[in-house]
C-alpha cells in the first residue's frame, strides 16, 4: 500500500517549459513549482495547454525547451516508464484483455514485486476503493464509476512518487462525479502524496485543490489558492473563469495614492495597490454588489452605477439580479434574502458597492464588449 506518512510527497518543478508542434505552441514558457504533498489542479478551457503540461510531466510528450525536475532531479529525458509517477487517464485506459486484478498487478509485475506480495497489495487496494470481490471481472463488465476506481487503484498500488490525473471524472454523471471528488480528496488526505489534477471544471477545482494553476493559451495566468483566485484575480481572464463577475471598463487616471475612472458618467475610484493600467477593468464579485431602486438608497460614499434590470431571480437563499450596464455589458448581483427589492425586468435601478472594493485589472480584451 502507499506510504501513509503525511508529507511523504514529492516535489515537482516545471521550469520554463515550452512544447511546440509543427503549427502551434501547446505550452509556452510555463513554470510551476508543485510542493510535496500538495493537491494542485491545472485548470483551463480545452486547448489551453493543461493536458499537454501533464503529459510533459508524465513523460508521454517530449518538451521543446525548459526542464522538469522531480525532487530536484532532472527527468525531462527520462522515459515515462522510469519516472515512477502514477497516471489516471481521462478514459481510464484499463487494459480490456486483462481482469481487474491483472490490471492492478501490472505495475507490480514491472517492479518485480514477489507474487504473494502482489496478491496482498491488489486485495488491499481493491478494499480501499470499495471493489473487493471484483478482481476477476473484465473492465467491460464494470460501470463507468467502477472502472474509474480500478484505474485509480492501478495508479496508486505501486506507491508512486506522485499521482497525475487527467480529467478522471469527465465521463461520469454529476452525482457520481461529486461522490468520487470527495473520495479522491479523502484519499489524498490519507496518503499525503502529491496530486496533480487536470480539469476544465472550476467547481471541481475549487472542491479538490490546495492550489489551482489557471491555464490560458498555453500559459499560466495565475497560481494560487481558491480564495486568491476568486478574491484577487491577476487578470481579466482569471476573474471571468473563476466564478461570476461584473466588469466596469474605462480609461484610468491616477494621482499616486488613488486611481479614478469615469464609467459612463459615474466616477469610480479606489486606492492604488499596484501598477495602474491605462485601460482599466474594475472587477466585482456578485456578493460584493448591492442593488438600490434609487441613487439616494445607496449609502453615502459608495460607488454607484445606473443600470436596467434584466432579470430578478429568486433563489431561495437570496436573489440573483442580471443587470444591463450603461456600456451594454451584463452585471450580476447576489443579495441575501434580507435585502429584498420589488424590482422587475425593465426597471431602472442602481448597482452600488463600498468604494474601496473590487480589483482593478488591465483591460486586455481584444474586442470591447460594447
Amino acid at each position: 500500500m502507499p506510504d501513509k506518512t503525511p508529507g511523504a510527497g514529492t516535489r515537482i518543478d516545471v521550469k520554463n517549459v515550452t512544447k511546440r508542434y509543427a503549427k502551434s505552441t501547446a505550452v509556452d514558457d510555463v513554470s510551476l513549482s508543485i510542493e510535496p504533498g500538495e493537491f494542485i489542479t491545472l485548470l483551463g478551457p480545452s486547448g489551453s495547454g493543461k493536458t499537454t503540461t501533464l503529459n510533459l510531466i508524465a513523460g508521454f510528450t517530449e518538451l521543446t525547451h525548459g526542464s522538469i525536475e522531480i525532487d530536484g532531479q532532472r527527468v525531462d529525458h527520462v522515459p515515462a516508464h522510469k519516472r515512477g509517477l502514477g497516471v489516471v487517464f481521462q478514459h481510464y485506459a484499463l487494459f480490456p484483455h486483462m481482469t481487474v486484478a491483472e490490471n492492478i498487478a501490472f505495475p507490480l509485475q514491472q517492479r518485480k514485486t514477489p507474487k504473494a506480495a502482489q496478491a496482498a497489495l491488489v486485495a488491499s487496494v481493491l478494499q480501499t476503493v470499495g471493489l473487493a470481490g471484483y478482481q476477476d471481472r473484465f473492465p467491460k463488465e464494470l460501470s463507468g464509476g467502477q472502472q474509474q476506481r480500478v484505474a485509480f487503484a492501478r495508479a496508486m498500488v505501486f506507491n508512486p512518487r506522485a499521482l497525475l490525473m487527467d480529467e478522471p471524472l469527465g465521463a461520469l454523471d454529476k452525482n457520481l462525479r461529486e461522490k468520487l471528488q470527495l473520495e479522491i480528496k479523502r484519499i489524498h488526505q490519507d496518503v499525503g502524496r502529491t496530486f496533480v489534477f487536470v480539469t476544465h471544471d472550476q467547481e471541481e477545482a475549487l472542491i479538490l485543490s490546495d492550489r489551482i494553476a489557471i491555464f490560458n493559451n498555453g500559459r499560466i495566468e495565475q497560481v494560487g489558492t481558491s480564495a486568491d483566485l476568486y478574491e484577487r484575480p491577476a487578470s481579466l481572464f482569471v476573474a471571468r473563469f473563476m466564478g461570476e463577475s461584473t466588469v466596469f471598463k474605462a480609461q484610468v487616471s491616477s494621482n499616486g495614492s488613488d486611481w479614478h475612472m469615469d464609467f459612463h458618467g459615474s466616477t469610480l475610484h479606489g486606492p492604488v495597490t499596484s501598477t495602474v493600467p491605462g485601460k482599466g477593468a474594475l472587477v466585482l464579485r456578485p456578493e460584493q454588489l448591492r442593488v438600490a431602486e434609487s441613487r439616494a438608497d445607496a449609502p453615502a460614499g459608495s460607488a454607484a452605477v445606473p443600470v436596467q434590470v434584466i432579470q430578478n431571480i429568486y433563489l431561495g437563499s437570496g436573489h440573483k439580479y442580471e443587470l444591463r450596464l450603461p456600456d451594454g455589458s451584463t452585471g450580476i448581483v447576489r443579495t441575501p434574502l434580507t435585502e429584498r427589492t420589488s424590482l422587475r425586468p425593465g426597471d431602472s435601478a442602481y448597482v452600488h458597492w463600498p468604494a474601496h472594493q473590487g480589483v482593478l485589472l488591465e483591460d486586455n480584451d481584444l474586442v470591447s464588449t460594447t
Partner: protein, 313 residues
C-alpha cells in the same frame, strides 16, 4: 401507414417529438407486417440464384457425386487416396506450404501494418495503395514476372552473385511457390492486421508506460494481445486461400513436388481419373469450409466482444 405515422409523431399531445426519439423507432417495425409474406423482393434474387445453382452448386454436386460414382459406384476412390503414401505426401505438402505462406506473410505484414499505424496520413495512403496494387494486377502477370526475376539467370540471382552468394534455384521448387504465393496473399494479411491495429487504443500503451512497463513490455503485453484478432483472421484468410492456389504453383512449382490443386488437374485433365480428382476436390473443399467456419466463428466472437464494450459506454 397513416396510423403508424400518427402513432410515431402525434403533434396534438403537445410534446415535442424530437424529445422522445424512442417513440420514432417503432415506425420501421410497424411497416414490417405489411411486407411480410410478399415474395416480390425474393424474385429479384432469382436470376443470380439460377446462375449460382446451375454453374456453381450443380458442378460441385457433380464433383462430389463423381468421387463416389466414377468409374463405378463405391468408395474405391477414397480407398485409393488413403492407400497411397504419395497422396498423403501431396496433402501434407499442401498444408505445409499453406502454413509457411501464412507464417511468412505474417512476418512480413506485421511490421508493415504497424508502420502504417504510426506513420502520417500521406505515407499511410501510399502504403495502402502499394498493398492494393497486387489486387488489380492479374495473377498470371505476377507469376510470370516472378519467373523472370527468379530464374537461374534472373535479377535475383544476379544480385545474389554480386553479393557473393548463389546461384540458387529459386523457381520450379517450393521456394518459388512460396515467394509467389506470399506476394499474392500479402494484401490479405496486411489489411486485417492494419484494421485491427488501428483500433488499438494507443493510450493503453501510454498507460502501460506510466505503470512502469519498458517499451518492449508495453508492446508485447498490451499492443500485441489487443491486435491479435487481426493476426488470427489474416492468418486464416491466407492459409485458406493458399490451400486452393493453382496458377502460382503450376507456374513456379515443380511437377515432382505437386500441391493438391495441381494434383487435381493432373488426375482430371491428364489421366482422366475423374473420381480420383473429385476425391481430392472434396478433401480440399471440406478443409476450406471447416477453416472458413472457424474464421466466421472467431470473427463473430471478437465482434461481440467489441459490441459489448460499445454497449456499456
Amino acid at each position: 401507414m397513416s396510423s403508424t405515422l400518427s402513432n410515431a409523431v402525434r403533434p396534438d399531445d403537445g410534446v415535442d417529438p424530437t424529445m422522445r426519439p424512442g417513440r420514432l423507432r417503432p415506425r420501421r417495425d410497424a411497416q414490417a407486417p405489411a411486407r411480410r409474406g410478399r415474395l416480390g423482393p425474393a424474385l429479384l434474387i432469382l436470376p443470380a440464384l439460377a446462375l449460382a445453382l446451375g454453374i456453381f452448386a450443380y458442378p460441385l454436386a457433380e464433383s462430389m457425386w463423381r468421387s463416389i460414382a466414377d468409374p463405378q459406384p463405391g468408395v474405391q476412390n477414397y480407398q485409393w487416396f488413403a492407400a497411397s503414401a504419395a497422396n498423403w505426401a501431396v496433402l501434407g505438402r499442401t498444408l505445409w506450404v499453406a502454413f509457411l505462406s501464412a507464417v511468412i506473410c505474417l512476418a512480413l505484414a506485421y511490421p508493415y501494418a504497424y508502420f502504417m499505424t504510426i506513420s502520417g496520413p500521406r505515407l499511410r495512403t501510399a502504403l495502402i495503395v502499394i498493398v492494393l496494387i497486387p489486387f488489380w494486377t492479374s495473377l498470371m502477370i505476377r507469376s510470370f514476372a516472378w519467373i523472370i526475376l527468379l530464374q537461374d539467370t534472373g535479377l535475383a540471382n544476379q544480385v545474389l552473385s554480386w553479393m557473393g552468394l548463389g546461384p540458387f534455384h529459386l523457381i520450379r521448387n517450393t521456394t518459388g511457390i512460396l515467394i509467389g504465393m506470399v506476394q499474392v496473399l500479402l494484401p490479405f494479411m496486411v489489411l486485417p492486421l492494419y484494421s485491427a491495429m488501428k483500433n488499438v487504443d494507443l493510450r493503453l500503451v501510454q498507460a502501460a508506460a506510466s505503470l512502469g512497463a519498458r517499451p518492449i513490455v508495453a508492446f508485447t503485453r498490451v499492443f500485441v494481445p489487443l491486435a491479435m484478432p487481426g493476426v488470427v483472421s489474416g492468418s486464416l484468410l491466407v492459409f485458406i486461400q493458399a490451400l486452393g492456389f493453382y496458377i502460382t504453383p503450376a507456374l513456379l512449382g515443380s511437377p515432382s513436388q505437386m500441391l493438391i490443386s495441381q494434383y487435381i488437374y493432373v488426375q482430371v485433365n491428364g489421366q482422366l481419373q475423374w473420381g480420383r480428382g473429385s476425391v481430392l476436390g472434396v478433401l480440399l473443399l471440406v478443409a476450406t469450409l471447416l477453416l472458413l467456419g472457424l474464421l466466421a466463428l472467431l470473427m463473430r466472437k471478437s465482434r461481440r466482444a467489441a459490441g459489448d464494450e460499445g454497449g456499456l459506454l
